[in-house]
Symmetry: C2
Subunit: 227 residues, 2 copies
DNA sequence: GGCTCGCTTCGTCCCGCGGCGAAGCGTCGG
DNA sequence: CCGACGCTTCGCCGCGGGACGAAGCGAGCC
């Protein structure tokens, strides 16, 4: 009656954060990187359907922005201001901003995106191959050339029987956690599978995150992948 | 499981503001003045019992502090930081900090505290009387002296029949909206009643707020009350 | 002492919202 | 073209929490 509007705006904003699942989502995105809906569902500890509703609500309120890529939908904080607000609230909440959890770090470091490699590792691998002129880059397709073949063969990632890789298309795909390109498509998929088969990478139970074994570190160093 | 604590802290904090009634309370206190529980209940538009629960919750969370005076309990924002957080949120919410409502201004300007005058008017009147040496100030009692009697008689606030005012005790009482002293006790009550009877002040329906009539402005100016 | 009055506590009701499973839609790989 | 997969929509359930009235408590006035 008196003062009609403001209290509801503030209440609405507070309600956005009032739910632990939504709070977890926002906190996870505080590093201003993007994550697909399913990953955020896992982080929040709720079913996909539930997370979807939360994400929609946050996006409608303008806290999150969303961009579709393939069958994924990547969510991120809408802008820097949002991150700033949340951080301010963390101080008020009344605890310090917590260090990112170890699980988060791992996830950022290496994870499979669909079936190929993403995260820091995916980006670093792509950079390395491109830097070594191991790739022929087309408009939207990528192929491994003879340079690349010998490079990978030395590392043991591909063997004689894999000669077919030369014919495989790859595609570049921006990694929303790193905002940089990495390798997808059949070529990317094959490389990821090889790394898992060779136990360079160890899949974690259920999640998309992968751990890097000692052997993997060694192989990557030999390959010249810098990260 | 993973990251056990922070999300709940943030959610809990958000929940404090998520309720329109609580948001209204916090907004009303944003000027860092104190208000009694009943007034906040009116502002929030809820019953006293409901408001009491909200106030308790806000106080338990450390957002509000409370101090009892007589049968009133005055609530205010716990400290400057809280005010700052809320203001930051107002920006995020995502509207500008609204101008104080007209109703709020009136309430601050003049209101009855229990039965005597408080607000700016109560404080100004007390200052004027003290400045004119119209009061004999004891340790915790105050009396109107001959100076004061003639001053008030000139203004028409007291008349022949009110000679008894000289015998009335007054008490000083800090006004939590202005953080300054004003006049309470039987003397303060009588003056307030006279001002209402003489229609210097017009009571508003239901609330403790009073409006000042043209006649009141005139009389106060004649009295030398500066405000 | 007895009354009024401001506030809190208690008991109760009920609505809103978060939770999930199932189904629908669009994309990708083969 | 088919199946797998990621995400959203739909429908239903259950519970937490906000609403109020009545009663209890303490302070102030006469």
């Amino acid at each position: 009656m008196d003062e009609p509007v403001t209290r509801h705006q503030l209440a609405e904003f507070g309600a956005l954060l009032a739910e632990p699942a939504r709070a977890a989502i926002v906190l996870a995105l505080l590093d201003s990187r993007a994550r697909p809906a399913g990953e955020l569902a896992t982080i929040a500890g709720v079913a996909a359907a539930t997370a979807s509703a939360h994400l929609k609500r946050l996006a409608d309120a303008g806290l999150l922005s969303v961009v579709g890529q393939g069958r994924h939908r990547y969510y991120r904080l809408a802008d820097e201001d949002v991150a700033h607000w949340i951080e301010t609230l963390m101080l008020a909440a009344p605890r310090r901003i917590k260090e990112r959890s170890i699980a988060d770090r791992d996830l950022a470091a290496a994870r499979t995106c669909y079936k190929h490699l993403a995260g820091k590792l995916g980006v670093a691998l792509f950079d390395r191959l491109r830097g070594a002129h191991a790739l022929d880059l087309g408009s939207d397709a990528v192929r491994l050339n003879r340079n690349g073949e010998s490079l990978l063969r030395e590392s043991g990632l591909i063997v004689e029987g894999d000669a077919a890789v030369l014919g495989l298309d790859g595609r570049t795909c921006v990694d929303w956690t790193e905002r940089r390109f990495h390798l997808s498509g059949p070529l990317g998929t094959l490389l990821a599978r090889r790394m898992l088969d060779e136990r360079w990478l160890l899949r974690r139970n259920g999640t998309r995150a992968v751990g890097i074994s000692a052997r993997g570190h060694e192989g990557l160093r030999a390959l010249g992948v810098d990260w």
